[in-house]
Symmetry: C2
Subunit: 408 residues, 2 copies
């Protein structure tokens, strides 16, 4: 977090969600793509909204992402996003692309909006075409309301074990603006990898370009710093809409409250990212790795992510094993500058490794600490001022079970 | 493999090992570091040998590697290598470095050799000092013989389930030269990560510099292309000795038989590397990924390694699931040029994915194919002429079990 922003300037809104900001509605229905659960969602701003988005780095970007990207580039604004779960519409070729367009067209027509104003997202099994009659049914029956946040949040889940939402508020020009978010992730749908989707709404007044800057900065320190199993999906996307329902001087990097907004957005992203990591496949706990004293912030983030992504660290955490040797191993082969003799490692409050050699510590205390739902690993280097954090989860029998079971 | 070398010019020697080349002896004893098993080994050339080595990229390089590297830089030759298992002598600070020197000194004195002529290696638990009385006992009691290959091979193992050896022959200037190798790897010693060690002997005549070139080229396509869990150890090392017992024109890159030697050395490395991957922790099978048609050989190797290292591909292989979606996912987020519409994927002989979309295939046949001890995945791109291979193993409940159990 940027240090110049005082924490009391940003408030977490307990129980807040994507509909906490003014001027948004959403809904979710069961269209028949899944057996019983909601599988079709819609999120809409009352007015056209500035938009920012980040997409998967995968070479195999799914058709809905292409359609969304194209629409945003064309109009620079959107008003809503339509999403289905169960079928990812990825690796589906020309037919898949046409189906994503059709899905967009249906919603646009129903609400009397230009097609480019509707973003499209899908998550689920890859390599299968969307059953369009079910998609049409979803497009026709989904209803918007100011109370539809949970319906929307449920409709985007795959094998997630819980809904994920977050909300923070701050003041811009003395006026309260709200940022809300919903996410899904870390559930696996055969034969897909874990898709991560995030949707963020805000009633702040900000142009598309500035919103993109704020989102990109936030993503770098949040969604890009979580890992469940090192995989990237064809369908990953985080999309933000700002509808300007709260009037204030438009936010730009020169606005005196810019940093407050950027940090509040980052907190929403971080909150959602941690919820995704905690709900990783088969996970029993959230692991947070903090690195301080690296050459640069970027190197700190690289090291943190390497440690939290190490299969050996992950299995040790599952086994309640204060196995600093594996943390050393992961730091050791990261692509960052590390002086082995200037490296301290803490597991929770205990120093377990210092200046290149192990330290005596209480294994009993460590086991107790690691039994909690959150475990912190702190790494202190002496290379510079760089710091960074990454989040992940433990590697368990259930991860293997979930992912080794034959597709049915 | 380099195509200009005809396969009949290089022969695999079944049952061959590090003592198949002329002029080498070895031995292994139980020094008390492990409970019952052999834990202390010595490999010696009859005469000073040219030497080449590659070391772990970890920032936390263990003391024995430093001592070995320093000795080689000083003398350009070595005559033997001494190794202990059970304790890695890593993260042991100044005392650890002194102990590695002492271990070298003991062997050098006993055999009347300069200290720099002895390389040192250790593998096992990290962060513990070597119990030097046991090391001294090993140094005094280990005996060399022409029949000592198995004793040496056993003494370097940790939790490996089997010895690993390989041997190939080729003709240089019409004379038969032999290359033999031993390796250990993928066993886990608490709280260490899987250390990989390889020792290669040859009776060929070749200077140190040329040997290093040949080894580096071979490593790139063999040991560097295997992955069990993406981890790198503090103690990884591959060491090659060439004692010139077979007289011929010294091998250099200009020698007409250079390529035969280089490929034979690569085959030894590849053979050992595959044995290590197959014996990966908890593994039930070897997975080989071949990539053709990439922009460059390097990109092909990057893609192959990404696929074989993917937790989702590895669990799918364990679950006998012909899950091409996960292969697509892994290719998709590799740092290489990939046109998703020009990508074909084969699981054994069946085409499962072509030109960006899935193909119909027999799931039954795929399940049968994946039940074998070796599974091949072939990936064809249309970016260029680059090709590369990587090897790994499946991810199983036993991997989690082995690595999550508390240190005892």
């Amino acid at each position: 977090m940027v240090q110049t922003v005082k924490t009391h300037e940003i408030d977490k809104v307990e129980g807040g969600n994507i509909l906490s900001p003014l001027g948004f509605q959403s809904g979710g229905v069961h269209s028949g793509l899944r057996y019983r659960k909601k599988d079709f969602g819609l999120l809409m701003s009352d007015t056209p909204a500035s938009v920012a988005a980040v997409y998967t780095q995968s070479h195999f970007q799914a058709p809905p992402l292409k359609v969304t990207q194209e629409g945003i580039e064309k109009s620079g604004k959107i008003q809503g996003v339509v999403i289905n779960s169960a079928v990812a519409n990825a690796c589906t070729g020309k037919e898949g692309l046409e189906n994503a367009y059709k899905m967009r067209e249906m919603i646009a027509k129903r609400f009397g909006l230009p097609e480019e104003y509707i973003a499209v997202a899908s998550t689920g099994v890859i390599g299968e075409q969307l059953p369009m009659e079910k998609i049409f049914y979803g497009c026709e029956t989904v209803e918007l309301s100011r109370e539809g946040a949970h319906d929307f949040q449920k409709s985007i889940l795959t094998t997630d074990t819980c809904e994920k939402s977050a909300c923070y508020q701050t003041k811009i020009d003395g006026k309260t603006v709200t940022i809300g978010g919903a996410a899904k992730g870390s559930g696996m749908i055969h034969p897909n990898m874990a898709t991560m989707l995030g949707f963020i709404t805000t009633d702040a007044t900000i142009e598309t370009e500035a919103l993109q800057t704020a989102l990109s900065q936030s993503i770098e320190k949040s969604f890009n710093q979580i890992t469940v199993d090192g995989e990237t999906s064809t369908n990953d996307m985080v999309l933000t809409m700002a509808n300007g329902s709260v009037e204030h001087d438009p936010l730009t990097e020169n606005h005196p409250d810019w940093e407050k907004f950027q940090v509040a957005l980052q907190l929403v992203c971080e909150d959602l990212a941690k919820q995704v990591a905690r709900d990783g496949e088969g996970a029993t706990k959230l692991i947070e790795v903090n690195v301080k004293g690296a050459s640069t912030n970027e190197e700190a983030r690289i090291i943190a992510k390497k440690v939290v992504g190490s299969s050996l660290v992950k299995t040790a955490m599952y086994g309640l094993d204060a196995n600093w040797g594996r943390i050393v191993g992961a730091i050791g082969h990261s692509d960052a500058t590390v002086d082995p003799n200037g490296c301290d490692i803490y597991i929770e409050d205990q120093l377990v490794f210092s200046d290149g050699t192990p330290c005596p510590f209480s294994e009993e205390q460590a086991t107790e600490d690691m039994s909690n739902a959150e475990v912190k690993i702190d790494i202190r280097l002496h290379e510079g001022e760089g710091k960074g954090t990454a989040w992940g989860c433990d590697l368990t029998y259930d991860y293997v079970k979930i992912n080794a079971s034959y597709r049915t």
